[in-house]
């Protein structure tokens, strides 16, 4: 008889819905009674989670680890030599000469974490960063590696990490999409990187803008009506809902109609909620400046980071931001400088903002590319793809700060200690969200599928 009471409840509220203040959105949404048919409702994780949400900073192209987070003094010592040792013996290293980093590494924070001069702002948060130096992936090609980073598998079409998270946990705020990806690439797997594959379509990511768009202008599709003023549209929705309730009265046991009724109320609320959350101009000038908004180099990614903070505050489960152009086969010095320059201040602002709001403790920030870059080069100012070892970092949401986890060999070619495969990254991320990667399964084609397939190991050492 649950449906009858719920239906009555909907009847009483649906006429009066209008504008709702931004600040109260998340709380109001989670408190609201929901239909049991909504697959996006919050669900119990497998165990107490450390992180409630993820902000994934995807540095597309493969940032150079030995110039950023993986300090390799041996490169200087053996500058210009062919890389020796076990890793240097690999075929991929033939004809290459070691190139030391043109940037200096200095210890930062109480932990003395070594970070290169490319990240002066981020370095101030050294004690929050868990730098994973032993990361590795299967294939040193962008298309496969990017898809594997997102779905665990480049061989077949599989659900993305965000879709799995949403499937496992639902989302806190029904007025916003639960999985948002800002400016993802259209190629290299394209929508596969935020797709749901065999998981129900509701779990796929909602895309905001695409590569090349200016974030100050983009919007989610169909979020506003170009013809009707809001009050007139409200009348229209009331009329639609009256039709729907008539139908519901004729079919008292058909809960599908309740679902439709609810979807219109949610949609109407989304229309105001989404643009409000995306509107970074409502932040103080000081905050905007902190993110680098208004400065040419940092403006766009600054907006993305500020938007991410606002989405996180509003209860979005999985937020991904892509920053393009880390494929430095050439112009390492100039391009890496500008990439880091464009992202350093915004990311630092995101961390400090979340901290101020006491949200860093349950927000997992992940920074990673699809692989790293070769310490030994053929071109004096460029590095190639390195899949056998690279660096990523995590912060907040249940990971220890101020630490390095794992290591590459003396030159940074291969991960040798606490090797952390992309599958391990997935297992660990799900673990932080309170999900056991071996138990988060979905039955398709007669068998149970996992994000980590038969692989993946949680890196216990980095859990706080």
């Amino acid at each position: 008889m649950f449906e009858f009471t719920r239906r009555n409840a909907l009847k009483s509220v649906s006429c009066g819905f209008g504008y709702m203040a931004f600040a109260g959105l998340a709380a109001a949404a989670s408190a609201r009674e929901q239909s049991s048919s909504n697959p996006l409702l919050p669900r119990q994780p497998h165990f107490e989670p450390k992180a409630k949400r993820v902000i994934f900073l995807c540095m597309r192209g493969g940032p150079s680890h030995v110039d950023t987070f993986d300090y390799k003094p041996a490169l200087k010592k053996h500058e210009g030599e062919a890389p020796g040792g076990e890793a240097g013996g690999q075929n991929s290293q033939k004809g290459r000469k070691l190139l030391s980093s043109p940037w200096e590494f200095k210890p930062h924070g109480d932990s003395g974490l070594l970070i290169s001069d490319l990240y002066p702002h981020l370095a101030k948060h050294a004690d929050d960063l868990c730098v994973i130096n032993g990361a590795w992936t299967d294939i040193p090609n962008h298309p496969q590696a990017l898809v594997q980073l997102h779905t665990g598998n480049f061989q077949f079409v599989r659900p993305s990490m965000g879709a799995w998270a949403l499937y496992g946990l639902g989302t806190e705020n029904q007025d916003l999409p639960g999985f948002i990806t800002i400016k993802p690439p259209a190629r290299l797997g394209g929508a596969q990187n935020y797709g749901s594959a065999f998981l129900p379509a509701v779990y796929q990511g909602t895309r905001i803008g695409e590569q090349g768009d200016s974030l100050s202008k983009v919007q989610i599709g169909n979020i506003s009506n170009s013809q009707l003023p809001e009050d007139v549209q409200r009348k229209q929705i009331d009329f639609v809902q009256a039709l729907n309730r008539n139908l519901a009265d004729r079919q008292p046991l058909n809960s599908q109609i309740d679902g439709v009724i609810e979807s219109y109320e949610l949609a109407f609320r989304m229309q105001s909620a989404v643009p409000q959350v995306m509107d970074t101009s409502s932040e103080t000038l000081q905050t905007q400046k902190k993110y680098g908004i208004g400065k040419g180099l940092t403006d766009d990614f600054g907006r993305a980071c500020l938007m991410a903070r606002r989405f996180a505050e509003s209860g979005v489960r999985f937020i991904e931001l892509t920053h393009e152009g880390w494929d430095q086969h050439k112009s390492l010095q100039s391009k890496l400088t500008s990439n880091c320059g464009a992202t350093d201040q915004p990311i630092a602002a995101l961390i400090s903002d979340l901290k101020e709001r006491d949200m860093l403790k349950d927000t997992l920030i992940v920074w990673s590319g699809e692989f790293g870059r070769t310490p030994a080069v053929r071109n004096q100012d460029g590095r190639d793809h390195n899949a056998t070892g690279f660096s990523m970092w995590m912060a907040g949401g249940g990971v220890k700060g101020g630490m390095n986890y794992g290591a590459t060999d003396e030159f940074g070619i291969s991960a040798v200690e606490n090797r952390f495969h992309v599958h391990d990254f997935h297992a660990t991320t799900l673990h932080l969200l309170g999900l056991d990667h071996t138990k988060l399964t979905y039955r398709y084609a007669g068998r149970d599928f996992r994000l980590t397939d038969v692989y993946g190991k949680v890196a216990d050492d980095i859990l706080s």
């Binding site: 079409v157 190629r187 379509a201 949610l266 007669g446």
Partner: protein, 826 residues
């Protein structure tokens, strides 16, 4: 002579070294065995056998450590022990707790682990002979055939049901089940409800106002005759194939690009789409429908047209997603094969044979060996999917061309876009010419610089190569001018068996497996596989032979699903152990044998189901019945079904009067040409404002048209026999705000206003009839009139009366599109 001599010396050196090794071997072996008995066996017995021996109930990870063979072969993760190879021995990884953590409770002491390392280094001597491991894994097919889906299809007599309710054989099966549970079916649906249901079910379009009333008149005379006549009329409509063809396109993961990490277009996939639609319209016998898709290129033919149709049917095997950036050729080839096995087995016989790629099937009686028996068939087949070699495509493919006389040739993929192969070569040639000229000038100035001369010569060679290639490509393109270009498969030049791949690793070859079929589906006569061909023809025969227990069951179950919203077996693509059991096994068998006995006619089976009483039921629920069977498994009422995305869009276009009912000629993907999406093809190429039926919209993997995606269109890389139905806010946003819906609402309103004879009351009635196939109730009519008046008043008074009227009626029209009733059929 000198190099050869030194090679010979080297050979003898190796040989003599080998002699030394052999003479030492016996002693080593004995020491190794002693070491094993002393240090290794006790640990294996005490720490491992509980879960990893032939005496354990269910060996974990298929790993058996109680024989030499078992420990060497390893389990699901790979070889446990490789003599002499510490890094390759997974057992070490496991006991070191690196990755796998074994034994799970507590790691072994470091010195024990060191012993294992030493033992493996010494050559992992192991005296434990025996094949216990293998015997355990043997499948007992006799026993496996007890499973319902593998039993022969029976032809049960319809049970006599007591009630007068049952009209047809189908009804008798349904009624008997209901009676056994004390269930009473609800009343028949109203004629207008039924008309709407029949139209959507058969052609995917709503009835017009006139069609609904004609059916009502006929139904008043004789409902049974009225249904029969309407069903016959719609089965004969060309729109039938557009509806039922789309169902099949879900199963065969129809898509017009490779998808995956390099998403290249398939400009000719639409030919297969058209072939599917035509096949359903022609009521092509379903067994032939299968044979043409699996082996159309190998079938005999009477005319060039037939030849052409049969060859392009094989695009079924070519349109799957492909990982074009795969660098390992063997892996790429085996992935294509895997995809072909998957679609063939799940599509036609509802078995997940692909699960047996890496190991024996975990749940169904499919040994890994039999997967490779099938793989041999597809490895002996060449797949022509037509993506050109530009833009980082590491796995390009040709197309086939079918000439007017039916002759089939392989042709280069003729790109049409900027990245086409001809255009690229032309560009390269031009650049090379420029370079050559420059080098000539340089060389004239510095004739003594050797380096320039070398470069000049190189460049000259390259110009020659490129010119030759260009000429060849242009010639190939020219010979295909009047042929039908299509995706297809053909037998490979030298068909052969393939090897089992250990753990599915493409390059890790085991024993060669003779091509063949799945034992579990092989009953009675087994078609002979001519080993000088791929074997696809025999496979097609095997799939469609009368004794096959699965094919006909799968087919009629799919049909049933599309008429009732759920199959008699809910997991339509999986009849294996992990699938659901049939709610009405006898009915399923009766339908299947009736289907086979009557020439595998899809239309006939549809007709026999739709003329039943159970199809005619209304959706009304009774509390009593709800109590007994809340899920409506026993079909005591009609299910409320959400329309598919295509029907929602098409219905709006019908009501707005904008639907262009003519079939598409090609596809937006053909117009876009060859290319990689996001690289040299922009996705905007596929935004089409055409108003043809949705089945003709371009289905580019990753870029499915918005309206389809919003309403649960299946991922086109996946085999998807039954769609999800979700109800989410993005659908509401689409109905409220999208340009498409707004435009259709405007056109709908204009139609209502254009009819000058109508009063506002009449307009409301008409709107309801057009959109919902019924008249509004009195209160609904009043509400609608009030809504229109109020809405028109809420617009700026500066706007003219007629503008405000139009806007108000548009808002009403949109409301009807947006209503739940519009998108559900009862």
């Amino acid at each position: 002579m000198i190099p050869r001599l030194s090679a010979a010396i080297a050979f003898f050196t190796v040989l003599s070294a080998q002699f030394c090794i052999t003479s030492l071997r016996a002693a080593d072996e004995q020491a190794g065995i002693e070491f094993f008995e002393k240090h290794i066996r006790p640990i294996l017995v005490s720490k491992c056998y509980e879960c990893h021996s032939s005496s354990s109930k269910e060996p974990k990870g298929n790993l058996l450590l109680d024989t030499r063979e078992g420990i060497r072969m390893g389990g699901d993760s790979g070889e446990a022990v490789v003599p002499g190879q510490l890094d390759d021995s997974l057992l070490l990884e496991a006991i070191r707790w690196e990755g796998l953590e074994m034994p799970p409770d507590e790691p072994l002491p470091a010195e024990t682990i060191a012993k294992f390392e030493q033992w493996i280094k010494m050559g992992a001597q192991d005296p434990r002979d025996g094949k216990a491991a293998l015997i355990r894994r043997e499948i007992n097919f006799e026993k496996a055939r007890d499973f319902w889906a593998f039993r022969p299809i029976t032809n049960p007599e319809p049970p006599a049901s007591k009630s007068k309710w049952a009209l047809t054989e189908v009804d008798h099966f349904v009624a008997a089940k209901q009676e056994s549970r004390g269930l009473k079916p609800t009343g028949d649906a109203l004629p207008e409800t039924l008309a709407r249901r029949i139209y959507f079910d058969l052609i995917g379009l709503p009835p017009s106002v006139e069609q609904t009333s004609a059916f009502k008149v006929a139904a008043e005379k004789d409902i049974a005759v009225a249904v029969e006549n309407l069903v016959d009329e719609l089965l004969a409509s060309p729109h039938f194939g557009e509806r039922w063809g789309r169902h099949w396109m879900d199963v065969v993961r129809y898509g017009e690009s490779t998808g995956m990490e390099r998403n290249a277009t398939f400009p000719y996939a639409w030919r297969y789409r058209d072939w599917i639609i035509q096949s359903f319209n022609d009521d092509k016998p379903y067994d032939r429908f299968i044979r043409e898709q699996v082996a159309g290129d190998l079938l005999p033919y009477d005319s060039p047209e037939q030849r052409r149709d049969q060859v392009l049917a094989t695009a079924f095997l070519a349109i799957g997603p492909k990982s074009l950036n795969e660098t390992n050729d063997e892996a790429f080839a085996m992935d294509v094969v895997d995809e072909q096995i998957d679609v063939t087995t799940r599509g036609f016989i509802g078995l997940t044979a692909s699960c047996a790629r890496c190991h024996d099937h975990k749940f169904d009686p499919i040994p890994q060996k039999e997967y490779y028996a099938l793989a041999g068939i597809f490895r002996s087949t060449e797949t022509f999917y037509g993506t050109d070699a530009t833009n980082g495509n590491r796995n390009p493919s040709r197309l086939v061309s079918i000439a007017a006389d039916g002759k089939v040739t392989q042709i280069a993929t003729k790109g049409t876009g900027k990245g086409s192969s001809t255009a690229v070569v032309e560009k390269q040639l031009k650049a090379e010419w420029a370079k050559l000229r420059k080098l000539e000038v340089q060389l004239n100035k510095n004739p003594s610089v050797q380096n320039i001369r070398i470069q000049r010569d190189k460049s000259e060679d390259r110009v020659q190569q490129l010119s030759k290639r260009l000429k060849q490509q242009k010639a190939e393109a020219a010979t295909t001018e009047d042929g039908t270009q299509t995706m297809a498969v053909l037998d490979a030049a030298s068909p052969d068996d393939t090897e089992l791949r250990i753990r599915g690793e493409a390059n890790d070859r085991g024993d060669t497996v003779t091509r063949g079929f799945l034992t579990i589906g092989s009953v009675g006569h087994i078609p002979e596989l001519d080993s000088s061909t791929s074997g696809r023809l025999a496979l097609a025969e095997w799939l469609t032979q009368d004794d096959n227990p699965l094919t006909a069951r799968i087919a009629v179950n799919r049909i049933w699903q599309h008429l009732f919203g759920r199959g008699l077996v809910a997991t339509v693509d999986n009849f294996g152990a992990n699938g659901d059991r049939p709610t009405h096994p006898e009915l399923l068998d009766w339908l299947a044998s009736d289907f086979k006995a009557n020439g595998w006619s899809v239309k006939r089976t549809i007709r026999s189901i739709m003329t039943s009483r159970v199809y005619r039921l209304g959706g009304e629920r009774s509390a009593d019945a709800e109590e007994i069977d809340p899920a409506n498994d026993l079909l005591w009422r009609a299910n409320h079904r959400r329309l598919e995305a295509e029907s929602i869009r098409d219905a709006m276009l019908v009501v707005s009067g904008k639907l262009d009912v003519t079939p598409a000629n090609g596809s937006a993907v053909l117009d876009a040409g060859n290319g990689i999406i996001g690289r040299n093809l922009q996705t905007s190429k596929f935004d089409s404002d055409n108003t043809k039926r949705s089945v003709y919209l371009p289905i580019v993997r990753g870029y499915v048209p918005e309206i389809l995606k919003v309403f649960d269109f299946p991922e086109p890389s996946m085999i998807y026999g039954s769609r999800d139905v979700t109800t989410v806010a993005t659908q509401a946003l689409y109905m409220m705000n999208s340009d498409f819906v707004t435009a259709q609402a405007e056109a709908f309103a204009q139609r209502l206003l254009d009819d000058g004879d109508l009063t506002d009351n009449g307009r409301v009635d008409r709107a309801w009839q057009m959109a919902l196939a019924r008249l509004p109730s009195e209160p609904e009519r009043n509400d609608a009139l009030t809504f229109v008046t109020q809405t028109s008043q809420s617009f700026e008074s500066s706007e003219s009366d007629s503008v405000r009227q139009k806007k108000a009626w548009t808002s009403l029209a949109q409301s009807l599109f947006a209503s739940a009733e519009f998108r559900y059929v009862e």
